[in-house]
Amino acid sequence: MDETDNAERNAAGPMNGAAASPVPSPKISPKKPDAVEQQDFVNPTLNIIQTLSRKTSTSALSTRTTLPSREGTPPPLPPRPMNLAFLDSRPSTSHSVAPSRPQLVSKATTQLSYTNTQTHNDLRDDSPSSGASRARNFFGLNVRSTASDADDSASVKSYAPTTIEVGGGDSESTLAGIMDDHEKSVLQSLGHKFSDQEAESLFPNDPNFESAFDREFDEIEGMASDGSNEEQIMLQWRAKLKHFLILSSAGKPIYSRHGDDQLVTNYIGVIQTIISFYQSQNDTLKGFTAGDVRFVISSRGPLNLVAISRLPESDAQLRGQLDALYMQILSTLTLPSMERMFAARANYDLRRPLQGTETLLSALSDGFTRGSPSTLLSALECLKLRKTHRQAINKTLLSTRSENLLYGLIVASGKLVSVVRPKKHSLHPGDLHLIFNMLFEAGSVKAGGGENWIPLCLPGFNNTGYLYMYVSFLNLEDPTTPVAERPKSREGGGAADEVAILLISPNKEGFFELRAMRDQLVDQLQKNSSISRIREAVKAGRPRCTDIVPGSPLRHFLYKSRGNVQFTMPAWEPYFESPLERRRLMSLYNTLHTQLHAKPTSLKIHHQTSATNISLAWSTPLFELYAVAPVATSRAALAQSANKIVQWVRREEERVFIIGGAVF
């Protein structure tokens, strides 16, 4: 991939300059001035009803398009906070992961010194500045030594005491963050074998972020009746990294991820005021920044949706998340019936008809806060399975297909195993995301046991009516007995033993028909030993980077096949097991994704180096690839690994992706 190298170089220039903003700024995400955005946009939304109709159509369209690319501005929604009671059921998940917030990383100095350090090990370093970098090695060493306490640094120090200027005034903090890494690299360069855990983190420590992320999913306490704890509660509320608010265009609260009505009412009022101020100017507010917090507003028909984030996410990404929330609401109500409610009364309280779905909205929100590759890429992940095995399953699905079946899906541990669908209808990733969220994240369905019959609207398929979904979870060890009760798993995508059969029909009375199909299907899958193959594939899990390319320096990658709207990735283990590390990785991916999709100049290849990692984003008409490696990796090595991944995917394409599926 020679071209990559060249491109890298090209991309590198601008990048270095900009490096500070994307990588390191957990707080300062690259935002455009509000003024600019507002200008783009001339959208008079004064009249609610107008807005309704217009947005409606817009929303339908945009729903179908991929989330990241969405340019369309959703009109703001009316806010409506949810009940805290529902939140109780929320995950007390101990996601102790904070998104990376590398202040340190941003320093050019740091990067250099890192690279340099590595240069010792890898003389082939092809970075444009290799000469300079070598010189810097000394600096890096010195710098580190100054900041560190004596001990091993002593020898290092002797090398070059002058370095401090590089870091300038900030050098101290910068160094502090990086020290550990420096030390390692130093030690390595000195020939020490060094493999402690610290070495494994790709991200600098950031205690503030860690503790914030730790508490991100905690419940906010109830307000004491005398209001004595008000201040404390407000602090808790403000400390959240991410908020989602949904309000009606009349300003009624509909949903809020954190805090009860009482708590968010004021904020809803303020936001509504801001939104309507712009509307009164025949303008539409798309987003703004306050301090280190980014606000993105999406107006969809009678709803205003607001995302408030301190994580490094682009407007487009946040807007994609708001779209998913909007689709969840449509999935519950259908578009026409929601419009009818608001047409009858503009200040209609949408919380009533949405009662009970707060858990779904919150599961979606928390998924976004934890970071989800699927949402970032708006693509699906499939269970890796041999082509012939998948074909056998497809055939079984086709042969047992009952008359009124629209879609049939087999899902294992949150990954798609097989699909049966009519020729003229493909499945929309956004719809599947809603279904997976309901089944694997929100726990409402799986906790109940038994089989389920769920009316739902799939807005990507058709936002005007309901379909009916039969859901049955299988016990892989003994598929004939349906799972009576499944343990709750809130962590990313469902436990390994969860295999669900989903059969979707437009026929409201079709439960027993589909149930019969399920019995037949499971019976046959068992006979042709597909069940045991699924079980093995589930057990095998995702391969590690080193399984895919032996010796690969890559720590993780995401590969999205554009044509299939599917993605594949290696296991989180061993480097990204904790939610915190995962969140940091996802923040890095967010940044890369933003760079790749930035308008108007979209890059083909983007290279990024920080104090602790080196990463690559690569876009072609066929795929998008994001890859991360420790900073000691050279660009050439990274590029080479990326090429190997692409080759691997090409080879395994029919295993990692579902191509076509069972079509009737």
Partner: protein, 245 residues
């Protein structure tokens, strides 16, 4: 407990049962207690409806319950007929700490009487008994703070201090009027849960049973009365049959 399918080949028949009631009164929890003998705090709301089965062994026969556990939210109400149509039994559940849920239960009972099959056996179940204080003898102070359940006479002295807001008397009175089985249960502690289902099993007229596994069901005509004796529950009113109008 009523499960354990270990018995001899007894006549067996399936009974379609539907649970109805306001959201968050504990329908799914009751079912989970009955089917899995398990309980989860803060269970998330049911979406749509869940279908579960559980056997209930009576001395003379085995009843296989096919249970439709429906979601209580308003927006699912229009789907309810699909579930109670042809049902032989219904559990209408309310929350003893929430008077409005009894009102909702009464609406469901009325709807069932109007539209469900005439012979349907209906049990009125007040759930969350664990939230009521054990001895009703306690202080009467708060009594005036207790809102009365709509449509019934204001609460007497009985329940006070605790979270109970629907006096047993009120609900029982209503159940008697309408000819419903009546129980107060706790899905959390398991209290009375099995009894409800056993009572329903006993109250189903033999004639309305279709044995899925052969003719067995029919042979026991007339034994129903004996079976009833086994309901050792503390609540003798349990055996009343739902009357058709």
């Amino acid at each position: 407990m009523a499960d354990s399918g270990a018995s001899q080949p007894k006549p067996s028949s399936s009974v379609k049962l539907v649970l109805l009631g306001e959201a968050a009164v504990g329908k799914s929890s009751l079912v989970m207690r009955f089917v899995n003998n398990d309980f989860q705090e803060n269970k998330e709301p049911t979406i749509g409806a869940a279908f579960l089965t559980q056997k209930c062994n009576l001395p003379s026969r085995t009843i296989k319950f096919e249970i439709w556990d429906t979601a209580g939210q308003e927006r699912f109400a229009s789907l309810a007929p699909m579930y109670y149509r042809n049902a032989q039994a219904a559990l209408v559940v309310y929350d003893i700490t929430k008077p409005s849920s009894l009102t909702k239960a009464q609406h469901w009972v009325a709807e069932l009487h109007r539209q469900a099959s005439p012979g349907i056996v209906i049990a009125l179940v007040g759930n969350k008994y664990d939230l009521a204080t054990e001895n009703d003898s306690a202080d009467v102070n708060d009594a005036d703070a207790v809102p009365a359940a709509e449509g019934e006479n204001p609460e007497e002295e009985e329940e006070s201090t605790d979270a109970r807001r629907v006096p047993t008397k009120t609900a029982k009175g209503y159940a008697d009027e309408e000819g419903l089985l009546f129980f107060e249960t706790s899905a959390k502690t398991g209290q009375n849960v099995a009894e409800v289902f056993t009572a329903i099993a006993n109250a189903i007229p033999e004639t309305s049973l279709k044995g899925p596994r052969g003719v067995g069901g029919q042979t026991n005509l007339g034994r129903q009365e004996d079976a009833r004796v086994n309901l050792g529950s503390a609540r003798p009113e349990g055996a009343k049959e739902g009357c058709a109008c």
